[in-house]
Point group: none
Chain length 248, copies 2
């Protein structure tokens, strides 16, 4: 087992079992002791995984009784609307680019130092998916915060919550996350460079390209998986996005 946190691994495994329908909503999971033995880890680790799943809202722990699958294990989080991974990425491409452009002229040296530190983090612990996601979040939130506009910060934060709290979106990202090992690093670097030069236009462009590439990766993944009918729809969407991107 590599550097990745064990309990998160276990949590994902259990989540996968639930998604496969091994345990219907409302039913009880096997006991901690049984799960621990079956998964080859200690009971403590199983419980940490259960806590993580409870935080995601997939599961509810009842002391003395058991761990129960929530009705809305695959459903939407009530606070957030149901959106597809594509819609979310498109929205982030547009909004976060503007946030970066607004931040560029006034970003502080300490924020720039923080971004560089995060850049370094992400190049190191890319083996740990969860940790990399946390770094990614902080990267984007730091840029949003540098805009000094609380409305923008709130929006960017909400969009990120959609990415992590909506199961459909999270799964879509997981399926293509291995794509962007090097390129993501380069893209993040380009964003930071533009911010360092206080170049609003450049920061907007770099951020837009960052999401644009992610969007294309998602569309490609879709095209491989889905029917021709859906392919055409995706192609149209891509064309539309690229058209709206052409802002020179």
């Amino acid at each position: 087992m590599a550097g990745r946190r064990l309990f998160q691994d276990i949590a994902d495994k259990i989540a996968a079992m639930i998604a496969e329908g091994a345990f219907p909503p409302g039913s009880r999971l096997p006991g901690e002791r049984e799960l621990a033995e079956k998964l080859g880890v200690s009971r403590v680790t199983v419980r940490e995984a259960a806590i993580a799943l409870q935080a995601r809202g997939m599961v509810r722990i009842k002391t003395g009784s058991g761990i129960y699958i929530t009705d809305r294990a695959v459903e939407t989080v009530d606070d957030l609307p149901a959106v597809s991974a594509f819609e979310l990425t498109e929205a982030r491409a547009l909004f976060e680019s503007e946030a970066a452009a607004l931040a560029a002229p006034i970003i502080s040296d300490s924020d720039l130092a923080k971004l560089n530190a995060l850049l370094n983090d992400m190049s190191h612990d890319d083996a740990d998916a969860e940790q990399a996601t946390a770094s990614d979040r902080e990267f984007h939130m730091t840029i949003a915060a540098a805009s000094g506009n609380r409305a923008i910060i709130h929006v960017v934060n909400t969009l990120w919550r959609m990415r992590t709290e909506l199961s459909e979106v999270r799964e879509a990202h997981a399926s293509i996350c291995h794509h962007d090992g090097m390129t993501r690093q380069d893209e993040h670097g380009a964003i930071v460079k533009a911010l360092e030069e206080h170049d609003a236009k450049g920061a907007r462009l770099a951020m837009r390209q960052h999401f644009g590439r992610l969007l294309e990766a998602m569309l490609d993944a879709n095209e491989q998986q889905e029917l021709i009918e859906l392919q055409r729809k995706a192609a149209e969407s891509r064309e539309r996005f690229l058209m709206s991107s052409r802002m020179t």
Copy 2:
């Protein structure tokens, strides 16, 4: 008989400490061993609390290094954050312009008809401020909906809620609403015209100018009311926004 899990109790205590400023954002929490002793619980419990806090995004755990407080730790948990009217308008200028650009190529004839009808409404019942605000809301939401992107729709809706539900923002709008009698009508007309021509770039520009003018009206109102010190700050903000607007 608390029934409540111990680690949640500990998590709340740590969160309270952070909120009180005992640990500034970015700093490191005491080690697990020290915290366990200080709070009178075992290390396992401290760890579970840390996992829960990390799930909330208040904290970030780095293996071998420590537990670090996130910048967002002191942020309000309330539905809507406290934002100024200026921040909100700036955010809307950026985001809704992009929404309009995205909607332009694909907006339907029925949506265009709806916008024209609203345009007509607003020219008539300008005496009734409440009605005019409702029409204004429908105007902007229709454009957002025409983008076909639910994430964007949600964001635009949230921004509008800030405008009406945050008292400070609502009052700020009320004080300058009489400014935009004719001009607003023209601006809305320009937006619809660009949408009718399916001109993404034109729609973005028209929407941006619409909010840009509102922004200038707010800044002017501010300058009349506030001290010289604040004037300078506002002027800087204006310059910054105008700079980021120059996207040709």
